[in-house]
Assembly symmetry: C2
Homo-oligomer: 385 residues x 2
Amino acid sequence: MTEIPSSLPAGFRTAGVTAGLKPSGKSDLALVVNDGPDHHAAAVFTSNRVVAAPVVWSRRVVSDGRVDAVVLNSGGANACTGHQGFQDSHRTAEEVASTLGVSAADVIVCSTGLIGELLPMDKVLAAVGPAAAALEVTGHAAAEAILTTDTHAKTAAHTGDGWSVWGMAKGAGMLAPSLATMLVVLVTDAATDVTTLDEALRSATLTTFDRVDSDGCQSTNDTVLLMSSGASGIAVEAPVLTQAVTAVCADLAHQLVADAEGAAHDIAIEVRGAASVDDALEVGRSVARNNLFKCAIFGADPNWGRVLAAVGTTRAAFDPDALDVAMNGVQVCRAGGVGEDRSLVDLSGREVHVLVDLHAGPEVATVWTNDLTHDYVHENSAYST
Amino acid sequence: MTEIPSSLPAGFRTAGVTAGLKPSGKSDLALVVNDGPDHHAAAVFTSNRVVAAPVVWSRRVVSDGRVDAVVLNSGGANACTGHQGFQDSHRTAEEVASTLGVSAADVIVCSTGLIGELLPMDKVLAAVGPAAAALEVTGHAAAEAILTTDTHAKTAAHTGDGWSVWGMAKGAGMLAPSLATMLVVLVTDAATDVTTLDEALRSATLTTFDRVDSDGCQSTNDTVLLMSSGASGIAVEAPVLTQAVTAVCADLAHQLVADAEGAAHDIAIEVRGAASVDDALEVGRSVARNNLFKCAIFGADPNWGRVLAAVGTTRAAFDPDALDVAMNGVQVCRAGGVGEDRSLVDLSGREVHVLVDLHAGPEVATVWTNDLTHDYVHENSAYST
């Protein structure tokens, strides 16, 4: 867990207020404002072909590389809401723009919550003014307001020499490759350009959020946004910026796994000896999505046969008689057969490490997932009721 | 549920006995014998690349189209057991062969249970004699002996004019496309040839067992075997035989879904308006494997947004703004947006029908799955302990 930084990178202000979208009465509308001087931005969105209205809107907004503000709401995804849903996202951006004195075409909109319901627009619009009035140079209130079933706010930061990167994230369910409902806003006061920002963000998400697969379900609303103000006045080289953004994304990704809906274990599937990174990822994801394996880990049962059964469904290069599997350091499967005594594996801790060696090449990748628990079933069978 | 037929097709005898492989003390070793005059056989096996020793053995046995007997055990999968595991399957076939006076090269071996443990061969071999002594012209004892977590035996039959097809199946978990652990033995006394048998079996499994996806997990041991004795003396045309075998497979497949581990609902995902059957199947399977959707059905929550989110992850041809979804007859999603009130959907019954219309072509397919329940998690987190 990262300690919440006391202040944001220079040039940014955020707020979190209660619009009344959540039955719980908790805060549910956040605002992030870039006061410049730069207003550069890059974003990646869900690769789901069914996308929510705010994603359709925000893709257009970010396409010119300029973003002045972001408005995010929890308590409703505004997904599968047709033309009216798009109009609502547009209207929200207009309200933020007129309140802040910017253009609606530079306002990103993000929503998260139940799919298939229109937002109560009167409540959303009425909260924009109070949010603007509450803007401050810390990020905690905003990070709180975007939560759904998350149990706590998630922020992370990386400090450079006179500049920094800060990020906040929500998303405790629907995590999957190619992002999740997962909303992430990253801000930096480094002086850089849009192309460098875009490359840094894509590189960072590829090895962090894209390798988290909590429950194999891909959201309609995923958005990861990176904005730069240049307010530090310090020009940061591309590799240095990429490294900093990756560190913040990795920290947030790990926090998402650690707070996934109903999870009792965080599981790292490390695949070694792959002929390609794609092979390693395919194997890692196949294990990460195997419900029988995930139930076994919940039951603290080192059932490595279910790992092999999952590996066997992939197209990755391997010889079944060469597969090795270790669980928390105990090599339970050697050369495709029985290895050390499975009873030696201790699965009582929160973190579980599964090592699959394909013995087919030099490539590696690690995919993070969670176990499948009674609480996951409970939370997701009662979510909308 | 099909009533258990009083007698098998002519030329077949079966038995089920207790070898002592199951801690419960229930019967766990079955024998199916074809007394001829024909000994034709065809089989389909798991497409998992990690296959159990009995599958490796049985693929060889069936390759010449002749099978005289099948020995099946529950209480141990003999999977991921290396060279010793293969030797054990071979040894079991030898024991059956010498007991029955046939060739081991004509004896199929099937195993189901925990992966990664060697079978207690003394118990297996000691049970072969008693099984041979117990052979009878009914199938119930055999159908009982192959069960694992199934709650009851599954058999089905189709009666033609002077000939019939009978089948038994087990498999309440690990069901997935390209078969499951799922062991199925089908027998007929129709007079036919190996090529016709093989075509009938492949055609039948393609639209039945291959369209069941209980939990997305694919087994290492799946075997579906069809044998003909020709003992009725009645030559049956290929289309008629295919239809009969398909009817028996469909009946058994539905029984597997209805008895899937921990399931509270049987869910038919019917996809219409697809550009191709492959598209329809990809969409159906994507919905069938979506844990969030499956949890929602368990909670009797008609959360159609999760259906759309699953459809959106496929490569099938469709326009997101044209998608229609009906649940148990209520069109909850129309043209990608909100349709009828979701509260009108009654999910209190065991069977759930989800209709997805892609409006992209004339093709259809139905995939069967189950909901994701507390009991599924419980059974699969405690299975090996």
